[in-house]
């Protein structure tokens, strides 16, 4: 489903060169849930943002469902329709109600009729458990509710892949659970997911594979049981000692 080959992303700020993503090669199969772990500044978010073109990369090949991102002929907007993204800070559109947030892209990009897009939006809000908030503005919602709306908004486009960029890092601790529950449901339904997160419990329970990044390098790629029980890379071992 997702194919990444020799991905290289270099940040060059006034001569200070950082290889944020350093020759990463991996693939994610259809229905697979991949959790990306690593210390902050390890390039995992940059890696994720390269997957849907929010960050342009210097070299390498990225393709989702056979559509190559590095090919200049690829329509980036058509590509992004198939890739849902959930951000750390939700990024809901504050001037629109929850329902309008879910309907905007359906209307503008997918050209769906009013009845169709609203039915889809309400069904998704039902699914993430906040159907009663459809006509509220985002500012009236708690962080957990906002993030669930953001997930529903991405799902409304019917993406083939969902990317999560630290979806619970900006939440109060008691709201993390409700968001993770939605993500678990999605995983069980067979959605292909790549999640950058610090939730070790989620990684252990839901992930099919764990990717460990440090200094832009993909250091370990293994199933969660193996990763948490016996990490091979010394930096992964040090990281796990810190967080567990």
């Amino acid at each position: 489903m997702i194919e990444v080959r020799d991905l290289l992303k270099v940040f060059d700020t006034r001569g200070h060169v950082v290889r944020a993503v350093d020759n990463v090669t991996t693939r994610v199969d259809k229905g697979e849930v991949v959790v990306v772990l690593g210390p902050s500044g390890s390039g995992k978010s940059t890696f994720l943002r390269c997957l849907n073109g929010l960050e342009d990369f210097d070299q390498g090949h990225v393709a989702i469902d056979g559509l190559p991102l590095d090919d200049p002929k690829t329509d980036i907007n058509a590509y992004r329709r198939e890739v849902g993204m959930v951000f750390q800070h939700f990024n809901l559109f504050p001037h629109m109600t929850v329902l309008e947030n879910l309907c905007l892209a359906q209307k503008v990009v997918r050209k769906r009729g009013k009845a169709e897009r609203e039915a889809k939006a309400r069904a998704l809000l039902e699914k993430v458990g906040i159907a009663e908030k459809a006509n509220e503005y985002p500012s009236r919602l708690s962080g957990g509710q906002q993030q669930r709306v953001a997930i529903a908004r991405a799902l409304a486009m019917g993406p083939k892949v969902m990317l999560f960029d630290e979806p619970t890092s900006a939440l109060d601790p008691e709201m993390v659970g409700e968001v993770l529950d939605v993500m678990k449901t999605l995983a069980q339904e067979g959605m292909t997911m790549v999640c950058v997160t610090h939730e070790m419990g989620f990684a252990r329970e839901v992930a099919d594979r764990v990717l460990f990044f440090d200094h832009g390098k993909l250091l370990e790629d293994s199933p969660p049981q193996q990763f948490f029980a016996a990490p091979r890379d010394p930096r992964a071992q040090a990281f796990l000692r810190q967080v567990l």
Partner: protein, 320 residues
């Protein structure tokens, strides 16, 4: 510290007192120079009874006069036997029944209300403001977005435009438009005036738009783009509506400024409010009254404008 609830009305009363004091001192100051206020001369500059003379079309005698209230119906018969019927105001009737008249004689006048110079000036100022404001907004929106473009030429050109316009006085721009561009392209004075005002406003609106768009968090555009919206759609549906909300106060200020700046086009002989005021003074000699009236008329446009802006601001704030 505990918050104490204090009564506000004594302070409002003090405000009123200060204002009354100011007005009183103004009155005293004018009485010291023994200025004679003649407010009764002012209304005729807003609306007056225009008189139109009704003339006989041939030589003959007045056949009949029928008086109906204010008007009189005069029937004239000329030498060839042709009849002419005129309706004139009764008190302006110059002839009686049986009188002879010659061709071109004024039989009487008809009266009707007509707008005076101040009313026409107000109207001219209004349409100048609305037209140049609308064009200024369009130009400003376009130039502001150009300043944010990735294309260096587009960006540079819009920067040159903004800097040129902001760096020169509006009065000079109006002269250039009328005397240089207007002569070369054979523009009417109204066109030159509106163009100068619109371009001037556009430059400031461009900066307001640019600042507004840049103040919207980057995540908003990223979220929109990640949903598959292209750059234009993201700008149209996500960024600009939020930016508009933020720039409404400076935008309203810019339009209020524009209404006042229209007074400058009087220098190219467009008879807007200020110029009509000057003309009214030349016939009435009521300098103080007319200028106070002119100031009041500008306020009459601008106060509702700022009221409308703050209401719009409150309406847009409902999503906060």
């Amino acid at each position: 510290m505990i918050k104490h609830k204090k009564a506000q009305w004594p302070w409002h009363a003090l405000t009123a007192l200060v204002l009354v004091g100011l007005a009183l001192s103004l009155y005293l100051a004018t009485s010291m120079i023994s200025y004679e206020w003649r407010w009764n001369r002012v209304p005729q500059y807003f609306a007056y009874q225009a008189e139109e003379a009704q003339r006989a079309s041939g030589n003959g005698t007045v056949q009949d006069i029928v008086r109906q209230g204010e008007t009189a119906r005069v029937t004239l018969r000329d030498e060839d036997g042709a009849e002419q019927v005129l309706e004139v105001a009764q008190d302006s009737l110059q002839f009686s029944r049986g009188d002879d008249f010659a061709e071109g004689d004024v039989i009487g006048v008809t009266r009707h209300w007509a707008a005076g110079p101040l009313a026409w000036g107000l109207w001219t100022t209004l349409w100048l403001s609305v037209v140049s404001g609308a064009f200024g907004l369009l130009i400003g929106l376009f130039a502001g977005l150009c300043r944010l473009s990735n294309n260096p030429t587009v960006r540079d050109l819009s920067t040159v435009y903004v800097e040129l316009v902001r760096g020169t006085p509006l009065l000079v721009q109006i002269f250039i438009f009328y005397f240089f561009i207007g002569t070369v392209l054979n523009l009417s004075r109204e066109f030159a005036g509106v163009a100068a005002l619109a371009l001037f406003t556009g430059a400031y609106v461009a900066e307001i738009v640019r600042a507004g768009v840049q103040s919207i968090a980057k995540g908003q555009n990223e979220a929109a783009r990640s949903l598959g919206l292209n750059a234009g759609q993201s700008m149209r549906h996500v960024i600009l509506p939020q930016a508009f909300k933020r720039v409404l106060p400076p935008l309203a200020g810019q339009f209020i400024s524009l209404v006042k700046d229209t007074s400058l086009v009087s220098v190219i002989a467009i008879t807007e409010l200020t110029k009509s005021g000057r003309e009214a003074i030349t016939t009435s000699f009521s300098t103080f009254e007319i200028w106070f009236c002119v100031a009041g008329l500008y306020l009459l446009i601008n106060l509702p404008l700022s009221h409308f802006a703050s209401r719009l601001e409150r309406r847009l704030a409902q999503s906060d």
